[in-house]
């Protein structure tokens, strides 16, 4: 959508909190633990969707005509608001739900124990990435969306309901962020400030990959993940900023990211 959306971090946090609190409640009641995965997903979607719908309908849709930077600032403002909303709803105490993580057990790879949950996460990521690619390139709605992003005015002239596509895209993106939060929730303790960390990191991912490119985002995520793990292993002092270093280096060599598309010049 050509929108740099800072509220994405908030949706990640909302998803994580919703999943953590509701799954904990589910398990506390003694319901079957295997179903907690379903609760995890449903909780994130059910809680995050109203937020996303409200933000798009009530605020963002009035701002699409404005500068990209203005929209960025608006989402930053929303991010500040949501950050406190999250604190008001869930408080400042950390949430832990380790059961879904421990439940799947672990298996042996080359003599090391590896948690099965992480493997499931990788599978989920590939599933969602593939699904998104199919949605964008394989369906009528997805192709129309690409057209709408490229030129909203012409699309409108052709009879496309542009507003609805914007809404759908924003909600879908936000729900993906919430799901990511929900999937991560069992592996970490859910604390305030979760959103701040993840948003800058995901910006680094998409910038390294090239804005608006799916394979770019996937590759960017892999690069960021690998570089971070390597630095934790070999050079823990630089772990905090190594991502930004990589991002600066990639931009220095390829100014618009790895998988950037050609841009027409405006004369």
């Amino acid at each position: 959508m050509k929108i740099v959306n800072v509220t994405h971090g908030s949706f990640y946090a909302i998803g994580a909190y919703a999943a953590a609190s509701l799954t904990a409640a589910w398990l506390a009641r003694g319901y079957p633990p295997m179903l907690s995965y379903v609760v995890l997903v449903v909780a994130a979607i059910v809680v995050a969707a109203p937020f996303a719908l409200f933000i798009e309908r009530a605020i963002l849709r009035y701002l699409y005509a404005r500068d990209e930077v203005v929209i960025l600032l608006a989402t930053y403002a929303l991010f500040l608001i949501l950050e406190d909303v999250v604190k008001l709803i869930w408080g400042v105490n950390p949430y832990y739900i380790a059961q879904p993580y421990a439940l799947l057990g672990s298996f042996q790879v080359a003599g090391m124990a590896y948690p099965t949950y992480n493997l499931v996460l990788v599978a989920a990521a590939i599933f969602f990435g593939g699904g998104l690619a199919w949605l964008l390139h394989g369906t009528r709605a997805g192709k129309l969306l690409v057209a709408v992003i490229h030129d909203p005015e012409v699309s409108r002239a052709m009879g496309v309901n542009v507003g609805r596509y914007y809404l759908a895209t924003f909600v879908l993106g936000s729900l993906l962020a919430a799901l990511a939060g929900a999937f991560t929730a069992p592996t970490v303790s859910v604390v305030p400030g979760l959103g701040v960390e993840v948003i800058v990191l995901s910006f680094a991912v998409v910038v390294i990959g090239g804005l608006g490119s799916l394979p770019g985002a996937a590759l960017g995520a892999v690069i960021v993940g690998v570089v971070r793990s390597l630095s934790v292993h070999y050079l823990p002092q630089v772990e905090l900023f190594v991502i930004y270093f990589v991002m600066a280096a990639v931009l220095a060599l390829r100014p618009r990211g790895l998988f950037s598309l050609a841009e027409p010049r405006k004369i």
């Binding site: 605020i59 930077v69 991010f79 500040l80 701040v196 800058v200 905090l240 900023f241 405006k266």
Partner: protein, 313 residues
């Protein structure tokens, strides 16, 4: 042509502040001095915004200025306000000169995110540097002026007056700069960079110069904030600090060089009031204020002045 009252306005405000200063309560002086520091950074952002660039990494130079001032006190025992500001600005400008060779090629969102990355690198470095206090930062020596230490009742006033003086000079210089050919290129680059190149001007050079000026201003602001608050920590380089500065610059609008200082003052007031009214949800109040501004006042607070003037005629 419209008469330009900016110079008279700047000098008038300075004289007024100098006279009224001694009667101000201590807390008001503190808020105003910090506002001047933030205003200086926002003034640099104004230059960049007029060029169509949003730097999400001005905190880099703010922090550099602050740590330069801190290092002066810690390693050389110097605590003179003007030396601190001078060194802070110089260090920031020198770093910006080097980084500018890389950054001047970027526009739009990439400029913003690359500058953000650079400031986060500094944040990471400072957090890991034990010699400079790691995450705790360290305290700064009490401010002195030309070797003299003002009495306890007068410290705040002296610092405030120095801040106001430096801010006035900076505002006037930037105002003058915007009227030079190089300064006038700013809106041209924002509108259409390729045509600027056709006319024989180098957009990259113009951006580089503006970037260095903005960095120097941020460095001075950082040094000023350091000596006022008396403590510095790596949080000053975190990206949310840059967000604050952009908030101020947008809040104020880019219409006039005085706007950033007015914006910083109002930001300080909103911030303080939000803390006072709702200590636990001040972010929410701040976010709501910013959102309201973006929706209802696209040109910033300064545009109110223009509208009023239009009505009087």
């Amino acid at each position: 042509m419209k008469r330009d009252r900016t110079v008279a306005l700047v000098l008038g405000s300075f004289v007024l502040l100098a006279i009224a200063g001694p009667w101000l309560p201590q807390w008001a002086m503190f808020i105003m001095t910090v506002a001047f520091a933030r205003g200086l950074v926002a003034l640099g952002l104004l230059l960049l915004l007029r060029t169509g660039l949003v730097s999400f990494g001005q905190a880099l130079f703010y922090c550099l200025g602050a740590y330069s001032a801190g290092a002066l006190g810690r390693f050389f025992g110097i605590s003179d306000i003007f030396v601190e500001m001078l060194v802070g600005g110089a260090v920031a400008a020198a770093i910006a000169l080097v980084l500018g060779f890389l950054l001047a090629r970027y526009r739009g969102i990439f400029f913003g995110l690359l500058s953000l990355a650079l400031s986060m690198i500094l944040y990471g470095l400072l957090v890991k540097t034990e010699a400079l206090g790691s995450t705790d930062g360290f305290n700064i020596l009490p401010s002195t002026l030309f070797g003299a230490r003002p009495g306890p009742d007068w410290v705040r006033y002296t610092v405030l007056l120095s801040a106001a003086g430096v801010a006035s000079v900076a505002a006037l210089l930037v105002h003058r700069y915007l009227q030079t050919p190089l300064g006038r290129l700013a809106p041209a680059i924002k509108d259409n960079e390729i045509r600027v190149e056709y006319m024989g001007a180098s957009a990259r050079h113009a951006v580089h110069v503006k970037y260095v000026i903005a960095a120097a201003l941020a460095g001075i602001g950082g040094a000023l904030a350091a000596t006022t608050v008396g403590h510095i920590d790596p949080e000053m380089a975190y990206w949310t600090t840059s967000g604050e500065f952009i908030f101020i610059a947008i809040l104020a609008g880019t219409g006039n060089v005085i706007a950033p200082f007015v914006g910083a003052l109002i930001y300080g007031a909103i911030h303080t009031m939000a803390y006072d009214v709702s200590p636990n949800t001040w972010q929410m109040s701040l976010g709501a204020a910013l959102l309201a501004l973006i929706v209802f006042l696209p040109e910033g607070l300064w545009s109110i002045a223009g509208r009023l003037r239009a009505q009087w005629r």
